[in-house]
Subunit: 453 residues, 2 copies
């Protein structure tokens, strides 16, 4: 049997240069998480279906990849369920497990399951793949990597600041000159909503507000009037908010107009502290009322990070504070705060803007030309020493030199190391830089430290 | 809804100390692969079912995890197939994708699919999870990690040697004082089989031979007589093989008795070269005729690495040379050689024998006691400097000191950093070593380089 091989739609092979670049980003994120005292955990790729189902809404549930029960168990298929149009019941009859859809529900399950062993506050990070049965399209894949850090079991506002520090550290270490960290707070949105008497339509209100950047203040106000019945008397106040173009202006407006209960007061104080703490830093953080991501989930501060290099690509990191993480799993409910880095988008931004270091781009370093076993054998101590710090590939076959040099060239090696009959007679090794064409000679017994690369 | 959360049987949560230890091993393996010029690739977690099925035998096929088609596609279920007892046909009707079962078939698919872009010889490594629907039991999981390095498209015997160098390097770097690398060759087994006139029963012959360690030579010979009809005249020769207790003895016996065609001659020369090349090294390699792993797959040299620390745990690495890797996928057939490290077994061996470095065992390094925001703020420049090289967790809440010290204790932090009212007045920072109880004071503006840890 012969078949033309391919991979499922929505999946990717990561070729060597892609793996190197992805690992470069992941290592920097992991390093920052670690330096801030977060510990890495990993959870299984599949969870019980009962753990995942009902956690992501109807739309999310449909996008979960279910795993077919093995062996004879498939015989228990409930066909009548399908006839009755009960798809979930049908799936339940042949599937007990499903692939991880995100890292949040597994975290909630992990914390609930191991809560007696964990000493809270629990700072964990997790960098693993997730799977979603989204319709494959450009830039959207069915398998991708999430990078999350969370603190469970502390309400301290210090963590709101720490998250911003970590955003800043990660992007600085990745070489981003400028990223913008946008901050919002669910309680402030809620108090505005109350003030303009739309609090029965909170989610509709933020959905319309979210369009401000795209459609402008006038159209937003019209939509609020048409769809939610916004009263005319609130329009000047809304316009004042929309006009405020820096964070301190908005904050003082909030302080003046929207502090109507303990929650909004607390929210204001949190934001105040956050801006005070970051004021000394070079971090570009701004208050953005239109930021409304994940409001079904976040209950306090909300973050979003945008690249100023390429504004089209959307947010490259996000996060926020949430309550009730573990309520689905147990009574001892825990809340937390978390951030997430968008590996795929960061990768594409860095790749498009040529931001990866040179050595990451040339995975192939030194190629030893093969002049026969005896010559390879003679320089094996040199190769071993080089391998303490560099990557050395010995061309495995003693074939025509032209073929070996073509191989070096096609695979973009940085250097070739030449030791054949001629060199052996002179007791030297030649090292040729394939980028510059420069050639250096070294005594065979010269210390490797003196080799020029 | 409240439920007691748990994970599927056969899966594991990796807690922080486990992740650190696993990453420690993986980093060392990755480093050695890289230093020898292998490039890392990653393939999707799921492949098309047609890519995987039929590649692992009937038993293997049954252990593949199939993924249920999403959404409305499940309606295409072919129930009649089940009635006709055609389980594969039934599965085909509702599943197009399956989870990776090993890294070899994905490699074959990858090389076949991308053969026009790849410059051969292709040296690749891959460290990814695989999934098998094995019945869960102690030490056997449904999700585990494989670490494979392969060279595709070269027949050079130099690679047989390079693989042994890599085994040796990896285990040395992991801190194993002694591992035994066992080598065998399919062609030598085949020539023995021919010589004693059992060549119609090759696989049965090696299966019985494989029991030599367990049941002894007498019982092996009896079994060969009873089951395969071994003739008495060959018994002295077999006994001579079984008695040979060092590699050079066996090799000269092979040379004398079993070189009967070009293949066995080539095999002998390969082994000879291999033992010559390793003779200068401190590598413990031995020829082991009973080694018969993966003979359905390996066509040349076969490797197995055993730990001499714990012989019960079985092989901790393996590999061999194979032909016809890509024959299922295309006509342009490619052969290769590969090795694989058993991460799970290596982990357990190292853990049981306390072989992980001290810093790996204490993921929690420095805890900053929280005396209130103003104190944290005052020492933030110290914390930032420390974080250049160390992990520093600022206790997020300003709570009772006893609670914070209990946290430090329970989470096994190495150090606590103390800066409260008393210290602020004296302009000092206290650093307490929680393992020894030692306490050091430092001037707040002292360079971090002078801090004692």
């Amino acid at each position: 049997m012969s078949m033309k091989p391919s991979i499922p739609k929505g999946t990717r092979d990561y070729h060597p240069e892609i793996v190197l670049k992805r690992n470069y980003i992941i290592d920097i994120i992991r390093d920052v998480f670690t330096k801030y005292g977060y510990l890495e955990i990993q959870t299984p790729s599949f969870e019980k279906r009962e753990t995942l189902s009902g956690k992501y809404g109807n739309e999310g549930d449909r996008l979960i990849f279910n795993i077919l029960n093995s062996g004879e168990k498939v015989r228990k298929v409930d066909v009548s369920a399908l006839d009755e149009n009960k798809i979930t019941k049908f799936i339940n009859s042949i599937s007990e497990k499903a692939l991880r859809y995100d890292l949040t529900v597994p975290l909630a399950r992990y914390v609930s399951q191991h809560q007696n062993e964990i000493k809270f506050p629990f700072k964990r990070f997790q960098i693993q793949n997730v799977w979603r049965a989204d319709r494959p399209q450009k830039g959207r894949y069915q398998e991708f990597t999430q990078c999350d850090a969370d603190v469970i079991g502390s309400d301290s506002t210090y963590l709101e600041f720490e998250m911003i520090q970590m955003y800043s550290n990660v992007f600085k270490n990745l070489g981003f000159e400028k990223v913008q960290i946008k901050v919002n707070h669910r309680e402030i949105l809620a108090s505005i909503c109350r003030k303009i008497e739309l609090n029965d339509n909170f989610l509709d209100f933020v959905t319309i507000l979210d369009k401000l950047d795209k459609i402008g203040s006038e159209k937003v106000i019209n939509e609020l009037k048409d769809k939610l019945g916004l009263k005319d008397k609130f329009i000047p106040l809304l316009n004042e908010i929309f006009k405020s173009n820096n964070s301190s202006q908005i904050l003082s407006l909030i302080n003046k107009e929207f502090i109507d209960n303990d929650n909004s007061k607390k929210a204001f104080n949190q934001l105040k502290t956050l801006f005070d703490l970051t004021s000394n830093n070079t971090i570009d953080i701004s208050f953005d009322l239109t930021l409304a991501r994940g409001l079904d989930y976040y209950t306090g501060v909300i973050y979003e990070v945008a690249s100023l290099t390429n504004t089209e690509i959307g947010s490259i990191a996000g996060g926020g504070r949430y309550k009730n993480l573990t309520e689905r799993f147990n009574a001892n409910n825990l809340s937390g705060i978390g951030i997430s880095f968008g590996l795929e988008r960061i990768y594409h931004l860095m790749d498009d803007n040529n931001m990866f270091p040179e050595e990451i781009k040339s995975p192939n370093d030194i190629l030893v030309i093969n002049f026969g076993d005896e010559f390879i054998h003679d320089i094996s101590f040199v190769v071993n020493q080089l391998r303490a710090s560099r990557s050395v590939l010995i061309y495995p076959d003693f074939v025509k030199l032209s073929k070996q040099f073509t191989y070096a060239d096609k695979n973009k090696f940085n250097y070739v190391l030449i030791y054949g009959k001629e060199e052996a007679e002179k007791n030297v090794i030649k090292i040729k830089n394939l980028k510059t064409g420069d050639e250096n000679k070294h005594k065979l017994d010269d210390s490797i430290k003196n080799y020029k690369f």
